[in-house]
Every structure is written in structure tokens, then in C-alpha cells.
């Protein structure tokens, strides 16, 4: 998967939790949780959803480094 496809997958998963999100309005280099209202449960479910959607293991110890869409795409790209 290339970056654009991974970004689409990230946004699609995000929209299952927060369907109000418009993917075009998300700035990829800024913390996602400062742009979208996600509580701790939403965030957990989002990362679990990404794991299931892309069959990528995301250990909890890595959660801290996943802050922006860019972070997520880079992380997933190395593992898909």
C-alpha cells in the first residue's frame, strides 16, 4: 500500500468512530486528537480498528508515538 492508500485507510477507520470527520480537513502533520474530538475510549477503539483493518500489530507500547496522521501512515507503512 502506498501512502495515499494508507491515509485513506486511516481516515476510513477514524470515520467509523467519528463519522463527523471530513478527511480533507485533517492536517496530517498536526496531532489528530487536537483536531477531532476523541476520548480515550475512541482512541483505543480507533487503534484496535486499524489493527483489524490492516492486520498490523500495534502494541500498546507504541501508542505514544502515534500522534499525527503522518505518524500513523509512517508506522503502518513499515509494517503492512
Amino acid at each position: 500500500m502506498d501512502d495515499a492508500e494508507l491515509r485513506s485507510a486511516v481516515i476510513a477507520e477514524l470515520r467509523t468512530i467519528a463519522p463527523e470527520v471530513d478527511g480533507d480537513e485533517i492536517r496530517d502533520d498536526r496531532p489528530l486528537r487536537r483536531q477531532v474530538d476523541l476520548d480515550s475510549l475512541d482512541w483505543l477503539n480507533f487503534l484496535i480498528g486499524l489493527h483489524q483493518r490492516l492486520a498490523v500489530e500495534i502494541p500498546e507500547a507504541d501508542y505514544a508515538q502515534l500522534v499525527t496522521v503522518d505518524d500513523l501512515v509512517g508506522y503502518l507503512k513499515a509494517r503492512v
Binding site: R15, T16, A18, P19, E20, R33, R34, D37, L38, D39, S40, L41, D42, W43, L44, E60, A61, Y63, A64
Partner: protein, 585 residues
């Protein structure tokens, strides 16, 4: 092997607890004596901020660190002396704007220093101050600011633009919006730069001569029906914060204390702000979102000794696994306490077995202003129990009688948890709603709305809510507020909202909706309704699940029977359905 009781070890009690003689301390205790451990204002009057800040800034704690603010990889500290100067500046900003004792200041921000300064500065200025949760959507924010007739709002550029600008015209009382600007971002139109205003203000201020019974804090809490209720707390409440910080959190002068609660809720104010300052300890505040590895890092790096957190966070840490929990030793940590919703026994045991410290659950609510019942460090813990009443607190189990009286119940009998009036942080009213306030009391007893039991050892056990309020991740959510927003979606004919059990959050909000003619129940519509609710209510209050029903069960008088929705969701017996429309006979 797990017993029914956790007994404390010598190592766990290496610091002698403040409360070691439970019966003796309870019998000797008086609120007047607790009050005498605090200070009046030099020229008369009594003020929370004087006892939290000024008293220390003028004494030996002047250079002691009051707050360590962590944000991402950076950290900053404020000593008690710094805090005195900065809160004086904020109070002078208010005074300069003509904001006084008839005004209400709302604060809406993450865990940034300015929020804490604004709350304390408002208290110094004698102005009622009300925190809003930064995860609220625009609707709950507008509702609360209107109920409180807010005149000043302190917030950030980002929150203002996302959540306040869209509803500002709906809040006519709002005169001043004070923004904590982000570097390089332009200030939104119609707002003022708080940082600049503070820099231009004097750092000395004479605290307004508030009386002990003057309103200080306004905390909104959800109602089963109708709008949220604004619980008013007075300056004297600090006496409870002092005594509970001493007994339940066991604060000692050299503690490093971390309360993880957000100051948008009562815990984050009573115990994230006031109690630690009144005790003169160093508090850690982390602005970042929950993350297991980060949290363990904070406990280790900051050498936290007393940690007050919440069941949802604990259960998320449990999910993150024991390996992460034990990766770094936590030699300084000596007490873990929890509040928000009942802590399940497994979580109490997890603390004992993985962290080497059991978790001390305690119980209180917005209306009580401070901890009332708790497991305390010197005593055995019964996992799953909320503990025993603290000194100064008289708790009982009771029912309301048909003639409007009260009947106290014995041990091992389920009833409503009641508290005898008279503790200093008891709420003194629901703002502009004396009838709802009066309905909470029978004689000398306050009815908490929580069902509980007391065992023969005097430990209290939570059973459930007496009403339809939902407890999700420690937040009390009123179904009516959620249903009202759902009903404002064009496709929704009726809505009923319940708390669905969740292993992490305790409960999550689940909505049942029926549709108007011409709409089809499909996934696209479900997502559209969810998006609508989240946009208006914010992530914390909005449903996590939306389900379609052809019709919702109603009573013959037309009220949605949430109890029945809940029973069906859980597969429980439906109970008495004789009042169900079309049911019984």
C-alpha cells in the same frame, strides 16, 4: 491466593498514615476544629485561594514547587510564590474588566497552567467560577454558560474556534472572552489576549473579603430529566478538601501528588487543584492524553508518591499489560486511590499484584464536593467496596417513606445512600433551581441518588443508580441531554438513551432511536445520526452506539421507559411493565 480482604504490609505503611485510629478520630473530629487548621483572611473573611496559595506564599513554602506542568516532552514548574503572583495577575485582569462578585467566570481548556491560574484568580476576586470539560461539544457548553449566566470565558484559540465561536451568539450574557493564544496564531475576532492582559497587570492583589458561605465554585452535573444542574459550592468547602486530603489521600508535606482527573470536572478541581495546594504539596499535572507508557513514565520520573486516578484509566492500564506496568520500578509510590465509578475487585487486586499496592476506591459526587466514603491507607481493603465514612461524615442507607419522611435501614439491606447535612463542601443549591435542591433532602439527610448497602463491618458497597443517569469513564451523563440532541436530527422520531455495561468505561452511552416516516434504517443513516450527536455533544457525552427500533417502549403517560431498554439490552427480566403503554391491563 486472593482473600476477601487485602491487609496492608509493613512496606506499604512505611509512611505512617494520618488516619490510624478510625473510631477514635471519628469521635474526636469536629468540622470547627478542622477549620481552625486553616486561616482566615488577615482583615477578616475566608477564601479558598488564600488557604491554597497566599498562606503558603507568605510562609516557608514560598519557594516550594506547587505545580509541575508536563506537556509532551516539556515541563515547567510554578512555586507557591510564583502561583501567588500569577493568580494575583489574573485577579487584577478581572478587576480591571469590571468583573466582580455578581459575575460568573467559565473556564474551558485542557490541563494548561492558565486554567489553574484562572480558577484561583477568580476565587481571589470573589467571583464564582465554573469549569467546563474541554471535550464537551458546542451544545453542552452553550447550555451550561446560559444556565450560569456566564460573563467571562477563559479558553484557548483552538477550543474557541471549534466549540465556542459557533454558539457565541446564543450566549448573550458573555461579555469577555479571554484567550490563551497559541504562538503565531492570530487572535479570534471579539476576544482578548489573556497572556498580554496578565503581563500588563500587577502581581499584588488583596483577596476580596469573601465570607465562608459565599459561593465560590459552580459545578454542573447531569439530571435525569431536563437540563444539567449547577451545584453551587462555597468558600468553606476548602475545609473538606483539607480534611479529606489528610485522611483519604493521606497527604504529607513532602509528597509528590498526581491527580489525573481533568479540571473540567469536580475531581480535577477539588483534588487536582485545591486539596494538594491546601496541603502545600507538589502536584504533577500532565496536559497530554492518556497513554499507558507515558503514565508509567510520569509515575517513575516525577517520583510520584500519592496517585489519585480513575477506574477507566486503571482498566486501560490493565489492558496494556503487566510487562509495561513493571518495566520500571516505582519505589516512591506509596498510595493509589481511585474515584469515578465503583472500582471492580479485579482492578483493586491488579494494583496489589502488579504494582505492589492495592487501589483505594472512594466515593463522592459533585454535590458532596469532596470525598465522603473511602478506603484509607491504614486499614484493610475489601475489594469492590467504597470503604467507610471519613471523619466528619455520617452516612446511612435509607428509603423515602410514602409520607415524605425517611426510614433508615439496617446492615445488608439495599437502599439509597444518604448523608447527614453539615459537612462544609456540601452543595448549597442548584443554581436557579430551589425545588430540585429541596427535593434532595428529607429532614437532616441528603439523598445521593446512589443505591448501596452497608455490611456489618461498616463498609459501604455500591449497588447502582436510583435513577437513569449514566456513569461513563467517571462522567455522569444525563440521558435527557443526549436524547434531546438525537431528536434534533431530522430522521429521528424518538430516542431513548441508556448506559450499556463496558469493561473499560464502566458504562458507555447507547442510543435507541425510531425513525420518522420516509427514512430507512441503514448504516449510512446510523453514521449520520452518530456524527450529528458527536458534533453537538462532543465525544464524551455522545453515544458510542446507535441502534434502530421500530418504536420505543413508553409508559401510558408517554415517558420513554429507559429501564426497559436497559433490561432488554442486558437480557434481564423486564420487571413491572404494568405502566407500559399497551402492556399490563
Amino acid at each position: 491466593m486472593r482473600q476477601s480482604m487485602i491487609r496492608k504490609t509493613v512496606d506499604q505503611l512505611r509512611v505512617v498514615p494520618n488516619l490510624t485510629d478510625y473510631e477514635g478520630e471519628r469521635s474526636r473530629f469536629s468540622w470547627a476544629e478542622a477549620r481552625s487548621e486553616l486561616e482566615d483572611l488577615p482583615r477578616g473573611g475566608f477564601n479558598i485561594a488564600h488557604n491554597a496559595v497566599t498562606r503558603h506564599a507568605r510562609g516557608p513554602l514560598r519557594d516550594h514547587v506547587a505545580f509541575r506542568f508536563l506537556s509532551g516532552d516539556s515541563a515547567s514548574t510554578l512555586t507557591y510564590g510564583d502561583l501567588e503572583a500569577a493568580t494575583n495577575r489574573f485577579a487584577n485582569v478581572l478587576a480591571g474588566l469590571g468583573v466582580g462578585r455578581d459575575d460568573v467566570v467559565f473556564v474551558l481548556a485542557g490541563r494548561i497552567p492558565e486554567l489553574y491560574l484562572a480558577v484561583l484568580g477568580s476565587l481571589k476576586n470573589g467571583t464564582l467560577v465554573s469549569p467546563l470539560f474541554a471535550a464537551f461539544g458546542p451544545d453542552p457548553i452553550a447550555t451550561r454558560m446560559n444556565l450560569g449566566s456566564g460573563t467571562v470565558l477563559v479558553t484557548t484559540t483552538e477550543l474557541y474556534e471549534r466549540k465556542v465561536a459557533p454558539i457565541r451568539s446564543q450566549v448573550p450574557s458573555l461579555r469577555h472572552v479571554l484567550i490563551v493564544p497559541e504562538a503565531g496564531e492570530p487572535l479570534p475576532a471579539g476576544t482578548s489576549d489573556l497572556t498580554a492582559l496578565m503581563a500588563a497587570s500587577s502581581d499584588s492583589f488583596d483577596i476580596v473579603a469573601t465570607r465562608p458561605q459565599d459561593p465560590a465554585l459552580l459545578h454542573f452535573t447531569s439530571g435525569t430529566t431536563g437540563m444539567p444542574k449547577g451545584a453551587v459550592h462555597v468558600h468553606e468547602a476548602v475545609v473538606t478538601h483539607w480534611s479529606t486530603g489528610k485522611y483519604a489521600l493521606d497527604l504529607h508535606h513532602d509528597d509528590v501528588y498526581w491527580c489525573t482527573a481533568d479540571p473540567g470536572w469536580v475531581t480535577g478541581i477539588s483534588y487536582g487543584l485545591i486539596a494538594p495546594l491546601v496541603h502545600g504539596v507538589t502536584s504533577v499535572v500532565d496536559e497530554s492524553d492518556f497513554d499507558p507508557e507515558r503514565w508509567y513514565g510520569i509515575l517513575a520520573d516525577q517520583q510520584v508518591s500519592v496517585w489519585y486516578t480513575a477506574p477507566t484509566a486503571i482498566r486501560m492500564l490493565m489492558k496494556a499489560g503487566a510487562e509495561l506496568a513493571t518495566a520500571r520500578p516505582l519505589p516512591d509510590l506509596r498510595l493509589i486511590a481511585s474515584v469515578g465509578e465503583p472500582l471492580n475487585p479485579e482492578a483493586v487486586w491488579w494494583g496489589q499484584e502488579v504494582l505492589g499496592l492495592p487501589i483505594h476506591d472512594n466515593w463522592w459526587q459533585t454535590e458532596t464536593g469532596g470525598i465522603m466514603i473511602g478506603n484509607t491507607p491504614a486499614f484493610d481493603i475489601k475489594p469492590g467496596s467504597m470503604g467507610r465514612p471519613l471523619p466528619g461524615v455520617e452516612a446511612a442507607i435509607a428509603v423515602r417513606t410514602d409520607d415524605g419522611g425517611i426510614r433508615l435501614l439496617g446492615d445488608a439491606t439495599e437502599g439509597e445512600l444518604v448523608l447527614r447535612k453539615g459537612w462544609p463542601s456540601m452543595f448549597r443549591g442548584y443554581l436557579n433551581n430551589p425545588d430540585r435542591y429541596a427535593a434532595c433532602f428529607v429532614g437532616d439527610w441528603y439523598f445521593t441518588g446512589d443505591l448501596a448497602e452497608r455490611d456489618s463491618d461498616g463498609y459501604f458497597w455500591f449497588v447502582g443508580r436510583a435513577d437513569d443517569l449514566i456513569k461513563s469513564a467517571g462522567h455522569l451523563i444525563g440521558p435527557f441531554e443526549v436524547e434531546s440532541v438525537l431528536m434534533s436530527h431530522p430522521a429521528v422520531a424518538e430516542a431513548g438513551v441508556i448506559g450499556k455495561p463496558d469493561e473499560v468505561a464502566g458504562q458507555v452511552v447507547k442510543a435507541f432511536v425510531s425513525l420518522r416516516q420516509g427514512f430507512t434504517a441503514d448504516d449510512a443513516l446510523r453514521m449520520d445520526i452518530l456524527a450529528h450527536a458527536r458534533r453537538k455533544l462532543g465525544a464524551t457525552v455522545a453515544p458510542k452506539e446507535v441502534a434502530f427500533l421500530d418504536t420505543l417502549p413508553r409508559t401510558r403517560s408517554g415517558k420513554i421507559m429507559r429501564r426497559l431498554l436497559r433490561a432488554r439490552e442486558l437480557g434481564l427480566p423486564e420487571g413491572d411493565t404494568s405502566t407500559l403503554e399497551g402492556g399490563g391491563s
